[in-house]
């Protein structure tokens, strides 16, 4: 029987496995996916939000604990646990040497990502390179990894973990376990139920795209809910971004982003604007636009720009729909031409003179149009015109198992002695809503490492007890 069974195969699972192994425990990892799809959503990540008090290798200036905490407080609107949040924040300032030891490499901020140069450390090659490095290190240290091994249910004895039963029916026992098998974002029926039916009679989640893995079906999350574990969070909350409507259903990842939203206008299916596109820099706003689009009829939006801003935003993966005139563009998009033209004309008329600069919060704004556009408001008048259809793209869900600083799963507010949880399955303790770039990896790394350490210690304690008896 192994000491620590890690269920999952992404960043948090790997951090747990590595820490447990380093603490001397024998470790078995069960990854649901085949090897080529290993790593869950971590294969699509690109950076880690890092607290630092002074410049550190790839990180410029400082990003102190308090500022990180305030950023988190702002995006979550207070839906967070300060104690756990600060724990993750502090851990982010010290974990990178350990990551490097296991082969993770960092790179200077990517071109076009200067807004996060101070706050986020980028993985060289992105998250899949990180995942590969961790697997290499884990295997070199003697961690056993089994792919294609989804777990269907657990065997619990009250609040004690006894074993796991795989989908193939195999029973695997271990002294302790770490659950790090992701949220339920890939489970379309569950998403449908969580988002429910809106006033228009639509099931909004039917129009969502999944930005990451298809393997996060939430099987263990559901199992633990039914087993009576303490749960936190709203199932409709998650990291939800507006992405290109033509993205694949799963694993579209970063490249399906549409970064021209703040440089033009966004209209819904009725041809009307619905939110201030220029409220702030896109990296600070992308995480609210998924929900904004989800609230529109048909869960679709259209980002409209003109020739002037081409080359001023990260190039999209698919070419835009183009037209030489705005009515022609509306027609191509299937929008009501009259309303669309009214919207754009009203917007154009409201644009105030200013000096356009897409690299600063410039003074180009509208006056007398609702909703306003507070920055980068330029008339849309220079053909050709471009349109990109937007859909909500869900990255991960926040419904979580409730934890304290030991990452132990809890039943009736009491910690399990040998069952721990990390990653998306508990990120909702810190992220009740909203998102800020790179914080998912900060939480996953911090609690993955805690869970691994705790699981190894619990296994060692169990050993001692047996010996005493």
């Amino acid at each position: 029987m192994v000491d620590v069974l890690v269920i999952g195969g992404g960043n948090a699972a790997l951090c747990a496995a590595l820490m447990a192994r380093e603490a001397g425990a024998s470790v078995l990892m069960l990854e649901a996916s085949p090897k080529e799809w290993r790593g869950g959503n971590s294969q699509h990540t690109r950076n880690l939000r890092c607290m630092h008090d002074a410049p550190q290798d790839v990180l410029v200036d400082a990003y102190p604990e308090e500022e990180f905490w305030q950023d988190l407080l702002k995006v979550t609107g207070g839906e967070t646990n300060e104690h756990l949040a600060r724990l993750a924040i502090r851990a982010s300032s010290t974990c990178r040497d350990w990551m490097r030891k296991h082969g993770v490499r960092f790179q200077p901020p990517l071109s076009g990502a200067l807004h996060v140069a101070r706050t986020n450390a980028f993985f060289m090659g992105g998250g899949k390179a990180l995942v590969n490095a961790y697997y290499r290190s884990a295997e070199a240290l003697g961690v056993k990894v089994r792919y294609d091994t989804p777990v269907a249910e657990l065997i619990l004895d009250g609040d004690r973990f006894v074993g796991a039963i795989t989908e193939a029916g195999e029973k695997i026992t271990a002294k302790t376990a770490v659950l790090a098998a992701g949220g339920f974002e890939s489970n379309r029926e569950w998403l449908r139920a969580a988002w429910g039916r809106n006033d228009r009679g639509e099931w909004p989640a039917d129009n969502f795209l999944i930005r990451g893995t298809r393997f996060n079906q939430g099987v263990l999350l559901k199992y633990m809910m039914e087993a009576g574990a303490d749960i936190i969070g709203d199932p409709s909350q998650g990291h939800c971004v507006a992405i290109d409507a033509r993205a694949p259903l799963y694993d579209g990842g970063i490249c399906t982003r549409i970064d021209c939203v703040s440089l033009g206008v966004v209209v819904n299916r009725e041809g009307e604007r619905f939110y201030d596109e220029g409220e702030d820099f896109w990296p600070k706003r992308y995480a609210i636009w998924g929900r904004l689009v989800a609230q529109q009829p048909g869960q679709i939006g259209y980002s409209i720009i003109d020739r002037k801003v081409i080359g001023r935003f990260m190039p999209p993966v698919f070419p835009g729909i183009t037209a030489e005139s705005l009515p022609e563009l509306a027609e191509k998009l299937g929008l009501p031409v009259g309303t669309f033209m009214q919207t754009v004309n009203a917007y154009n008329a409201a644009c105030q003179p200013g000096t356009f600069d897409h690299t600063t919060l410039d003074d180009c704004r509208t006056d007398g149009v609702s909703p306003p556009k507070t920055h980068w408001a330029q008339r849309i008048d220079k053909p050709p015109f471009y349109a990109y259809a937007l859909r909500p793209g869900i990255t991960f869900t926040y419904l979580s198992l409730k934890v304290d600083e030991t990452a132990a799963v809890r039943f009736a507010d009491r910690p399990s002695p040998n069952l721990f949880v990390a990653g998306e399955m508990m990120a909702g303790n810190v992220l009740g809503k909203g998102y800020t770039a790179g914080v998912g990896m900060s939480i996953g790394t911090a609690f993955g490492r805690i869970a691994g350490t705790q699981a190894a210690a619990a296994a060692a304690r169990g050993e001692q007890q047996i010996r005493r008896q």
Partner: protein, 386 residues
């Protein structure tokens, strides 16, 4: 007429292949440009961020900038089995073959890249046969006693200088014409080459094989996602071994013409020391590269170029092996035989310099130079805020 029709057909085929390969580069780089996770791996990605679309010239340029380290393949979230099927190293290596064919001079000789192992084998066979026959015709035998390592007793110095000078001169001209045409196509008009610090930076990248370091210095990929520095090390042994051999020949030429000191040179003379050291490099380097090539993951390469790669590696290996054998037994009756074999291999190399793997160094250096120049100019694409 049939020959010309045939050549026209081949040219048409090459063009269709090139179009398809360029279209694939353009498709993949649109995905990469929207992702950019691999930016620090190598120069290909920094060249990419200066462009929004990728035409034939861009494809040739970026293909030759790529060193096939393959870090980006293993790091790619869109690599097969993802439906985007992104495999940049393989796609760029296909275009590199197009570059070699397209810019070969004369163009028709570019077709030798289609069956390059065969081309190299034929060149070596002809070279070896030629020198064996010439030895027998002039000496009556391949095994002669008492020559005391006097190579010029078999082939007078001037004969060798003229034969090899002509072959090398022709190859140098062909490569120069090819790379000039390449440079003109991939560069904007008025694009100056005379940027001293750019030349320095490009030379440094080439001579240190910077881009076989994977961006982090851990090396490149061979069998799987693990990094190795052995490809860079074996390539260094090969390249610097080759340069030492070249230096040995150059020094010997100076001895001969300037100081009138004629071969054979003693074991502890400069030409022999340089040649021996170079020869050792040219044994170990190619052997290591061959070993790595045998183990390289097929995902990383254009399988059609295996014979070119391995043919060239083998050619260098046997040049060195025969050269060292000649040194070892130069005092014996075997000397004429060993000399003919060695000269035959060297002739095989000289004849295929512009029509084999050797050309990769020339085009890659040009691409590195172009990159060093363009990097010193402001980026025309100002993507700014994400």
């Amino acid at each position: 007429m049939a020959v010309i029709d045939n050549l026209m057909d081949l040219a048409g085929k090459a063009e269709r292949e090139l179009d398809a390969n360029v279209a694939e580069v353009d498709r993949i780089l649109h995905i990469c440009n929207a992702c950019r996770y691999c930016e620090s791996f190598c120069a290909v990605f920094s060249a990419m961020t200066r462009r929004l679309d990728f035409n034939v010239a861009d494809a040739h340029y970026m293909a030759n900038l790529c060193h096939n380290c393959s870090a980006c393949l293993y790091a790619c979230q869109y690599a097969p089995p993802h439906e985007f099927g992104v495999n940049l190293p393989k796609t760029l290596s296909r275009v590199r073959r197009d570059t070699y064919m397209e810019y070969a001079f004369p163009r028709a000789f570019g077709e030798l890249y289609r069956q390059n192992g065969l081309a190299v084998a034929m060149a070596v066979s002809l070279g070896v046969a030629l020198f064996l026959i010439a030895t027998i015709l002039s000496q009556g035998s391949l095994f002669i006693d008492g020559l005391e390592a006097d190579f010029y007793a078999i082939f007078p110095h001037n004969v060798l200088a003229v034969t090899f000078g002509a072959a090398f001169g022709w190859s140098a001209i062909a490569l120069a014409v090819g790379v000039s045409r390449f440079w003109r196509q991939v560069s904007e008009p008025g694009h100056s080459v005379l940027v001293p610090d750019a030349i320095g930076a490009a030379a440094k990248s080439a001579l240190t094989l910077k881009y076989l370091g994977g961006g982090h210095g851990d090396g490149c990929n061979n069998e799987d996602d693990a990094f190795t520095l052995w490809r860079r090390r074996f390539h260094h042994l090969t390249f610097y071994g080759f340069m030492l051999c070249f230096a040995s020949t150059s020094v010997a030429t100076l001895y001969h013409y300037l100081w009138g000191v004629e071969a054979p040179y003693p074991v502890f003379s400069l030409p022999v020391l340089l040649g021996t050291a170079g020869g050792m490099g040219l044994i170990i380097g190619p052997a290591g590269l061959f070993w790595l090539s045998m183990r390289r993951n097929d995902m990383q390469i254009d399988e059609r170029q295996k014979t070119m790669d391995r043919g060239f590696i083998a050619l260098l290996f046997f040049i060195s092996l025969t050269g060292l054998a000649l040194l070892a037994w130069r005092e014996s009756t075997w000397m004429p035989f060993l000399l003919a074999i060695h000269l035959g291999f060297v002739m095989g190399l000289f004849l295929t310099l512009p029509y084999g793997k050797f050309a990769h160094g020339i085009f890659r250096s040009a691409a590195l130079l172009k990159h060093a120049i363009e990097k010193r100019k402001p980026n025309p694409v100002q993507a700014g805020s994400e």
